[in-house]
C-alpha cells in the first residue's frame, strides 16, 4: 500500500511529496499507516494524534483531497474508491501533485491554516475565531444549589451542536474560508448557535457577535462543512436559523 505524503519544513521554498510503502494490515487506518512510517521508515515525519478513536479531533488532515480524521479513515476502502465524498471545489482541492487514487493515498495538511511542518498546521486562526464568538456559558442565575431543569427535546436540539469536536475539518473544507480568510467559519458559528439556543442562557444578544460581514452573512450555503464533519454537526442549519432570527428583528 502506498502513501503519498506532503512534506514541508521551515526554510523550504516549496513542499515536497514523499512516497512510502506501508504494510497491509486488516482495517489499517491512515493514522495507523502514518505511525508505521514514523516507527519504521522515517522518524522525522510530523503529524498530531491522540485518541485514535474519532472523539478528540486531533488528527484532521486532507486525505485524497477531503478533510477527514486520519484515525477514522481506513486505507483499503479509500483505494477501492468507497469513501469518495463529493465536495464543491475549494482551495486545497486543486491539483497539487500527480497522484493515482487507485494505487496510492494522498495525505496533505488541512487547508486554510499555515503549515508548521509536514501534516501539522497552525491552529491559531481557527481557535482565534472560536474565541471570538465567546464560547462560554452565560447563565441567568448564579450558583443556585439545584440543577436547572431542561426539556429533553431542547437537549436533543443542542446536541446537534455540542457534539462538535473542534477538529477543523469543516474549516479546512470551506470554499468561503479559502476566498475570505476573515470568515469565522462553520465550527465557530455552529458553536455560537449552540450557546444561543441553550435555554439556560441569559444573554439573548449572542447572535449579534457574528452579525458582521465575516460572520453569519459570509456563508454561501455550499455544505462542504456538513459533508466532511465526522460528527454530523450541521453548521449551515445554524447559520440559516440565525440569519432568519436576525432578519426578523431588523
Amino acid at each position: 500500500m502506498k502513501l503519498k505524503v506532503y512534506r514541508y519544513q521551515e526554510g523550504m521554498e516549496y513542499p515536497e511529496y514523499d512516497s512510502f510503502e506501508v504494510e497491509r494490515e486488516p482495517g489499517l487506518t491512515v493514522l495507523g499507516a502514518l505511525l508505521q512510517i514514523q516507527e519504521q521508515l522515517d522518524d522525522s515525519l510530523s503529524f498530531r494524534y491522540s485518541c485514535r478513536g474519532a472523539v478528540c479531533g486531533t488528527c484532521a488532515m486532507l486525505i485524497n483531497k477531503v478533510p477527514a480524521l486520519a484515525c477514522r479513515t481506513q486505507i483499503e476502502p479509500l483505494l477501492k474508491g468507497d469513501l469518495q465524498v463529493s465536495l464543491f471545489p475549494y482551495p486545497g482541492a486543486e491539483e497539487t501533485v500527480p497522484w493515482d487514487a487507485k494505487k496510492e493515498v494522498l495525505i496533505e495538511p488541512l487547508p486554510h491554516m499555515a503549515v508548521i511542518k509536514d501534516l501539522m498546521v497552525d491552529m491559531d486562526k481557527f481557535f482565534e475565531y472560536y474565541h471570538f464568538i465567546q464560547p462560554v456559558f452565560k447563565p441567568s442565575d448564579i450558583n443556585p444549589e439545584k440543577e436547572r431543569l431542561m426539556d429533553p427535546q431542547d437537549v436533543k436540539k443542542l446536541e446537534e451542536y455540542t457534539s462538535c469536536i473542534l477538529c477543523a475539518a469543516c474549516f479546512g473544507a470551506c470554499p468561503v474560508e479559502g476566498e475570505n480568510p476573515e470568515y469565522l467559519g462553520p465550527a465557530a458559528l455552529a458553536k455560537l448557535y449552540r450557546f444561543h439556543i441553550d435555554p439556560r442562557e441569559e444573554d439573548t444578544s449572542r447572535l449579534k457577535i457574528a452579525d458582521i460581514p465575516p460572520g453569519w452573512w459570509a456563508c454561501d450555503s455550499i455544505g462542504n462543512c456538513l459533508r466532511v464533519c465526522p460528527k454530523k454537526v450541521p453548521p449551515i442549519k445554524a447559520i440559516n436559523l440565525a440569519r432568519e432570527e436576525l432578519n426578523e428583528k431588523k
Partner: protein, 567 residues
C-alpha cells in the same frame, strides 16, 4: 526561558482544568502545561457517565439513592482496598459536582421531567450514572475548557515536562520541552499539581488514547515520590475487537447482553445476580474464561448484543457507540451484535497521595487518574473516574490554595540547573549512535505487559516479564533516533515517553509479583483467593529504574467491614 507562577498544573484533562478554575477563582496565579491541546486529553473519550446519588431515578421498589449507597458500592467494587475516608468524600461531593458542571454549562441528558438523567452501571445498586448520551467526557471537558479560556488562564500546550524541580526538600517547579521550538523552559512555582492521567499504553490492546504513557507517574518516581497500588490495572470487558476502542458500560446499562459463540448469555453462570452489569473485573474475567474454554469467536472475542434495545434507543442513548461500530468494525449494532473483547482501560494505582492530594514531597500534589488517593482500590466502578477528576480536581486545588499562602517564591537557581540537566539529557539522546529502534522496544514492552501482567497472572510468568523489562531498560539506552533536530522531533518525544513507560512498567511488575493474593483486577492463578490477613494493605513502590523497593501502608476502613464479594 523561565516562567513564574504560584501554581503550575501539569495536564489539561478534567482534573487539571477543574483545578485550574478553582485556583484561579481564589485569586492565585496559575498556569497549565499540557503535551497536547487540552481538548485532546483522554478525558474527552469518557463515554458512559458520572456517578452521583442525585436520586433523580428511583431504585428497586421505589427506593431513593444516598451517598452512603454509592460509597458502599464503591468500596465493595474496590474489593475493600479503597480508603473509605476518601470514598466518603467523593460520594458526598458527587451530587454537587454534577450540578456544578451543569452550572458551568455542561449539557446532560434529561428525564422527561427535565432533571438530569441517570442510568444503571456495573456494580451499582441504583441507576446512579448521570450521562450526556455516550459523550459525557466530551461534554464535560469542553465545558471546563470554555471556562478556563474565559478566564484567560495561560496554557502551555504541546509542552512535554522533562523533570520536577526540588529545592530544600520542596517541589518548586518543573522543566518542559517546548515541542515546536525544541527549547527547554523552566517553571518556578510554589506548588505543582500533577494531573497527567493514566499509563494504559504500556499495555497492548488498550482503550486509552495513544498519549496515555504515564508521564506523570514516571516524573514522580524520578523525584523520589512513591507510586501506590500499581498492580491494579483495569481491563474493560467490552472493547471493540480489532482496535480496542471503548464500548461503554452504558451499552450494558441500557440492556446490552454478552453472548458467546453458542449464543449463550454466559454471565448467568458467573454473576447470576447482576449478570452483564457485574463489576468490570468480574465481567472481564468471565469473557476471558469463555474464550479460554473455546466458546469465544475466532480471534478471541465475544458478542455484545444491543439489537433487542431497538433502533430508536440505540440512536438516542448510544449514538457514539453506533458510529464507532460502523466506522471501525463495519457493523451497525441496530442490525448486528458488536464483536468485543477485554482490553486495558484504567490505572487504579498512581502517585501516592494523602487524603488532601499531597505527596510525600511538599509542594507536589496529584489528582485524577495519575494519582492514587485510593477511591477505586483494586477495581474501579464505571462512572467513578470522571467523578474523581472533578471532585478531587477541586478539593486538591483548595488544599494547594491553603498551603501556598505563606510561602515565598522559590529561587531560580535550581530551575536553572534543571534546565541544564534536561538539555544535556536531550543532547545525549540526539547524539546517540546506537542501532536499536525504540519502537521495537515499545512493542516488546506492550507484549510483555499484556501476556505476563494481563487479566490472569502467575509468579513464574511475571518474574520472566520483570526480567524482560530490566533488559529493555538497558537496551533503551542504546537507542538512536534518526531525526537529529530538536524542533518538532516526534521521535524524541516518543523516546522520552518510552523511557518513562519502562520505569512505570517495572513498578507495575514488582507490585504485582509481591501481592500474593487475588483481589479485584489483580487475579493470580497461583493465589486465587483474596487474603485479607496479609494483603488488606496498599502497595508502595519507589526507586530508580532497576532498583525499586516495595513497602506497604494500611487501608483506611471505617464504614464497611470487608466481606466476600458476591454479585
Amino acid at each position: 526561558m523561565i516562567h513564574e507562577y504560584e501554581v503550575v498544573i501539569i495536564g489539561g484533562g478534567l482534573a487539571g482544568l477543574r483545578a485550574a478554575l478553582q485556583v484561579f477563582d481564589a485569586g492565585v496565579d496559575v498556569a497549565v502545561i499540557s503535551k497536547v491541546n487540552p481538548l485532546r486529553s483522554h478525558s474527552v473519550a469518557a463515554q458512559g457517565g458520572m456517578n452521583a446519588s442525585l436520586g433523580n431515578v428511583r431504585g428497586p421498589e421505589g427506593s431513593v439513592d444516598t451517598w452512603k449507597n454509592h460509597a458502599y458500592d464503591t468500596v465493595k467494587g474496590s474489593d475493600y482496598l479503597a480508603d473509605q475516608d476518601a470514598v466518603e468524600i467523593m460520594c458526598r461531593e458527587a451530587p454537587l459536582s454534577v450540578i456544578e458542571l451543569e452550572h458551568l454549562g455542561t449539557v446532560w441528558s434529561r428525564l422527561e421531567n427535565g432533571k438530569i438523567a441517570q442510568r444503571p452501571f456495573g456494580g451499582a445498586g441504583f441507576p446512579r450514572t448521570c450521562y450526556a448520551a455516550d459523550r459525557t467526557g466530551h461534554n464535560a471537558l469542553h465545558t471546563l475548557y470554555e471556562q478556563v479560556n474565559h478566564r484567560k488562564i495561560p496554557i502551555y500546550e504541546e509542552f512535554f515536562v522533562t523533570s520536577l524541580i526540588r529545592n530544600q526538600e520542596r517541589c518548586t517547579g518543573c522543566t518542559a520541552l517546548e515541542f515546536l521550538k525544541g527549547e527547554i523552559h523552566g517553571f518556578i512555582a510554589k506548588a505543582v499539581l500533577m494531573a497527567t492521567g493514566g499509563f494504559g499504553r504500556i499495555f497492548n490492546k488498550s482503550t486509552n488514547a495513544l498519549i496515555n504513557t504515564g508521564d506523570g507517574q514516571a516524573l514522580a518516581l524520578r523525584a523520589g515520590v512513591p507510586l501506590k497500588d500499581m498492580e491494579f490495572v483495569q481491563f474493560h470487558p467490552t472493547t471493540l475487537y480489532g482496535t480496542n476502542i471503548l464500548i461503554t458500560e452504558g451499552a450494558r446499562g441500557e440492556g446490552g447482553m454478552l453472548l458467546n459463540k453458542r449464543g449463550e448469555r454466559f454471565m448467568e453462570k458467573y454473576a447470576p445476580g447482576s449478570l452483564d452489569l457485574a463489576p468490570r473485573d468480574v465481567v472481564a474475567r468471565s469473557i476471558e474464561e469463555e474464550i479460554a474454554q473455546k466458546r469465544g469467536f475466532e480471534g478471541d472475542y465475544v458478542q455484545l448484543d444491543l439489537r433487542h434495545i431497538g433502533a430508536e434507543r440505540i440512536k438516542e442513548r448510544l449514538p457514539g457507540i453506533r458510529q464507532i461500530s460502523m466506522d471501525f468494525a463495519g457493523i451497525d449494532p441496530v442490525n448486528d451484535p458488536i464483536p468485543v473483547q477485554p482490553g486495558q482501560h484504567y490505572s487504579m494505582g498512581g502517585i501516592d497521595v494523602d487524603i488532601n492530594g499531597q505527596t510525600i514531597l511538599p509542594g507536589l500534589y496529584a489528582a485524577g487518574e495519575c494519582a492514587c488517593i485510593s477511591v477505586h482500590g483494586a477495581n474501579r466502578l464505571g462512572g467513578n473516574s470522571i467523578l474523581e477528576t472533578v471532585v478531587f480536581g477541586r478539593l486538591v486545588a483548595d488544599k494547594i490554595i491553603e498551603d501556598i499562602n505563606d510561602l515565598a517564591t522559590p529561587p531560580k537557581k535550581q530551575v536553572e540547573k534543571g534546565i541544564k540537566t534536561s538539555k544535556n539529557h536531550l543532547e545525549k539522546i540526539i547524539q546517540s549512535k546506537g542501532l536499536e529502534n525504540q519502537f521495537n522496544i515499545k512493542n516488546m514492552l506492550n507484549k510483555t505487559m499484556s501476556t505476563k501482567f494481563g487479566i490472569f497472572r502467575k509468579e513464574d510468568g511475571m518474574l520472566k516479564g520483570l526480567g524482560d523489562i530490566h533488559k529493555m531498560q538497558e537496551i533503551v539506552s542504546t537507542v538512536s533516533i534518526k531525526n537529529k533536530e530538536l524542533e518538532l522531533n516526534h521521535a524524541l518525544i516518543r523516546l522520552l515517553e518510552l523511557q518513562g513507560m519502562l520505569h512505570v512498567a517495572e513498578s507495575v511488575a514488582i507490585s504485582a509479583i509481591e501481592r500474593r493474593e487475588s483481589r479485584g483486577s489483580h487475579k493470580r492463578t497461583d493465589f486465587p483467593e483474596r487474603n485479607d490477613e496479609n494483603f488488606l494493605k496498599h502497595t508502595l513502590v519507589k526507586g530508580e529504574a532497576g532498583n525499586m523497593v516495595v513497602s506497604y501502608s494500611p487501608v483506611q476502613l471505617g464504614m464497611f467491614e470487608p466481606e466476600e464479594r458476591v454479585y
